[in-house]
Assembly symmetry: C2
Homo-oligomer: 491 residues x 2
């Protein structure tokens, strides 16, 4: 598998694309910018969904489903929202095709033009807040804590598998609250959920903070985010949680009677993560031998490969392998037993290494005699022999260990690639060398932010919530700064 | 809740619509024909998805995801498919909006017209078989067993919540096989999966069989289906599994090298169920007091309502209620404890009865003294007192009992509403009276089928796989018939 595979040093972007394709995660489709998520990639996404969905429900949210189409006029109702989203979107104008006059194909039936065009949702605030108007009358109807798993479409000009695609899969939470404080609390709570998910499941350390005004979600009063560092020194936004104030309540006239019997506008939050996280997961941990997956999200955590030269060998090995498979499954470990005789063990080793299966167990006749199995871990590529007794417990422990090791490795990498810069020269040098996160003072103006971006391509990834609020001087303008912010080039 | 609620006898269609709305299952959205699935309704759908997904995986299938858009030209490639689907569909023609010249709104940007229009998928055979061409080279790549959970759009003119909506949610399985026999086996296997799901989870007895040619899926060589009887005597198609022959393989040039090193076209099946099943579930079991849900699909299987007049009472009752809640949860039972003090017990009783929660447990101070709880079952509306000891086992048993009772009731209803008709007068009378399924001889011609439909509105729901193949005379034409087929009016 790993033959003809570009290394990260050779060409990081090419390495990523090849990895996504060759590891059977996703591929481009016949429709420009839209991807096909293949079963192996989708298996990882299902594990992500499962973990996130549980966390959403544990924090009191329910799932629901809203229409894929949004009437065009809805976008005009929230001024900054239309600015951010309505421009690059798929527009449905007709509802029928017909046979062409020459009977050689089908054409759009001009008699079936819609009175008002429909937009394929790029995000659902507008259609959802239009619906909430009828659901919310009194403070008793609040809070309303709803999440939707859905596909969305944003007409991207330059697309990359998982990272930026015209259609992508995501979840979008949309909550309604009686007070500003509650909505802010929810915004922070869901950022915490995303942080826990990134760290505990994706083995990905993240920065937490708020976006600068220019990077805010279109329609939000404040955007909180988590940012993770990729191996090429670029940052990737791995989740956002927005405090929407009363913007959408006002745009869609959603009011409630409070306990004092007074009409008030509702306060809102929205938050989302998408299949983009697949890109983050791949880029954060994988290496020049292929994919590396954290055990908690790997479709298969363990693969068992039998080694044999003849039918007698196979019979003995097979029996032991099935026994081990059952022991692992009883522990709740996701295990695949590859007993295909169409491929040699060496081919299988390469295949599962490339696909990032965290643990490989090989069993041959010699192992049976010695009461051992060979265990290879994907993260370090180390092999060792384990006594086969009490194997399920040992493997469970090993999987925990791999999960933790991937996190630690990513954290070490981030620490090594986070620097303070106090002069403009130093700042430019760091950014030019793709050396990761740069903590620098900023004067707080969009003008300076824009100039820094133009000169270096670095953007303010976030303003940390805490720990960096000592005053200083802007690295670019020299003007007073309230604290350091996190700069990086970004995906 | 049940006040001003139409009864089934008064107006079955109105009863259904009111039930869907008042039980918080779904509602119409601002977009014509598209529904909003509310949290309570979506909770049922999630339970359906979970059960089906497990059955798909247990039969060797993996999930994947394909684009929502299909290039217009793809539809022209399979002749009967375009006939069936391309006519009523949402067409994307542009990819950008812009501010209008008067700056008062946004309009479609005519500079952003697509070279080729995109269709929002009404079903995915075309885009999937276009993809399979690259996935299948050799017999080693087969079978390919893939399922997709997705939204689809069919531009329906007359819509009804869940039963017929412009956008709906579904799963679509698309499999590829080396031989005709294997594809036919898969087609039958998935119909069996749907049958098991309908009977064991939805508590819904179904007829199994094949569609007549005129009712076949557009592009299929054979369509298998299950049909269930609703309480108004109409049939509802609850799942279809199609044998596609080599039609899509030929249309999209999907070939493989067989073991003899010969190029062959691939054989195919596709199969799906949708949120339409929600409509079937609601109509099959519910009554004039509201929703009735089978325990296996109910979002909450048990609700606990505390009865108290003062704080002292509440404290004692609350303690016991929490204890019971935990016992039930430990058994894996989905339980809600409604300790809100904003509503009286009587209001709560009516609410949960209307929403079809299978079991209600009420606990008051008198119960504590006697060591009992009051248990009400939704299916029969019976109330009884249970000794509180070993309650979790008793409730588990009761839930099984309710599940079985709903199935038996539906089966009895169907038996009472299935009749043979041997004369045309008898046939017309049965159909006119909405008396359910009519088993009658048919001469096998589309012409007769069409005439029967025009005269009576009854269609051939299916041709049974077995048990009805004694020869006879067509009930309409008097011509020879190979066996009885199942007629009914249908949703």
């Amino acid at each position: 598998m790993a033959k003809n595979f570009t290394t990260r040093k050779q060409d990081y972007a090419k390495w990523y694309n090849e990895l996504v394709i060759k590891a059977d995660l996703a591929e481009n489709s016949a429709v420009r910018g839209c991807m096909v998520i293949k079963p192996y990639g989708y298996g990882i996404w299902e594990n992500m969904q499962h973990a996130l969905d549980k966390m959403f429900k544990d924090t009191g949210h329910s799932n629901a489903y809203f229409p894929i189409f949004i009437p065009k006029s809805f976008f005009s109702k929230e001024a900054s929202h239309v600015e951010g989203f309505a421009k690059e979107c798929a527009v449905v104008t007709h509802y029928r095709l017909k046979e062409s006059d020459d009977k050689k194909g089908i054409v759009v039936d001009e008699d079936a033009r819609l009175e008002e065009e429909l937009i394929v949702r790029p995000t659902s605030e507008t259609i959802i807040w239009d619906t909430y108007r009828n659901w919310i009358q009194s403070y008793r109807d609040l809070p309303l804590l709803i999440n939707q798993w859905a596909n969305v479409v944003r007409w991207e000009m330059r697309t990359r598998l998982f990272l930026r695609t015209t259609e992508f899969l995501w979840q979008e939470g949309h909550t309604a609250h009686a007070t500003k404080a509650e909505a802010l609390e929810e915004t922070a709570r869901m950022l915490d959920v995303y942080t826990t998910f990134a760290e505990d499941f994706m083995a990905l350390p993240v920065w937490k903070g708020r976006k600068s005004e220019s990077e805010r979600f279109a329609g939000a009063e404040d955007t909180y985010c988590i940012e993770a560092l990729m191996q090429d020194g670029k940052s990737l936004q791995a989740g956002t949680s927005h405090f929407l104030g009363q913007n959408f309540a006002k745009a869609f006239d959603v009011k409630f009677l409070d306990k004092q019997n007074k009409q008030q506008y509702v306060w809102a939050s929205s938050w989302g993560v998408s299949t983009r996280l697949m890109g983050a997961l791949i880029m954060a941990h994988s290496d020049d031998n292929g994919l590396v997956l954290p055990p908690k999200l790997a479709p298969e955590q363990v693969v068992i490969v039998p080694i044999y030269k003849n039918d007698d060998d196979f019979e003995r090995v097979n029996e032991k392998a099935l026994e081990i498979k059952k022991q692992l499954q009883d522990k709740g470990i996701r295990v695949k037993y590859d007993d295909r005789d169409t491929n040699k063990p060496g081919w299988k080793f390469a295949e599962y290494e490339f696909k990032g299966v965290p643990v490989r167990i090989a069993i041959g006749p010699k192992d049976l005699d010695k009461g051992t199995v060979e265990v290879a871990r994907r993260d370090t590529l180390e092999k060792s022999f384990y006594q086969a007794t009490d194997l399920a417990n040992k493997i469970e422990h090993l999987l925990d260990n791999i999960q933790q090791n991937l996190y630690n490795k990513a954290l070490d990498f981030r620490e090594e690639h986070t620097h303070k810069a106090d002069t403009w020269e130093e700042f430019k040098e760091r950014i030019k060398n793709n050396s990761g996160f740069v903590l620098a003072h900023w004067d707080g103006t969009p003008e300076t932010e824009e100039k820094i971006k133009q000169e270096t391509k670095a953007t303010i990834r976030l303003i940390p919530f805490e720990g960096y609020d000592e005053p200083g001087q802007c690295v670019f303008s020299g003007k007073p700064s309230k604290g350091r912010v996190v700069f990086a080039k970004a995906y």
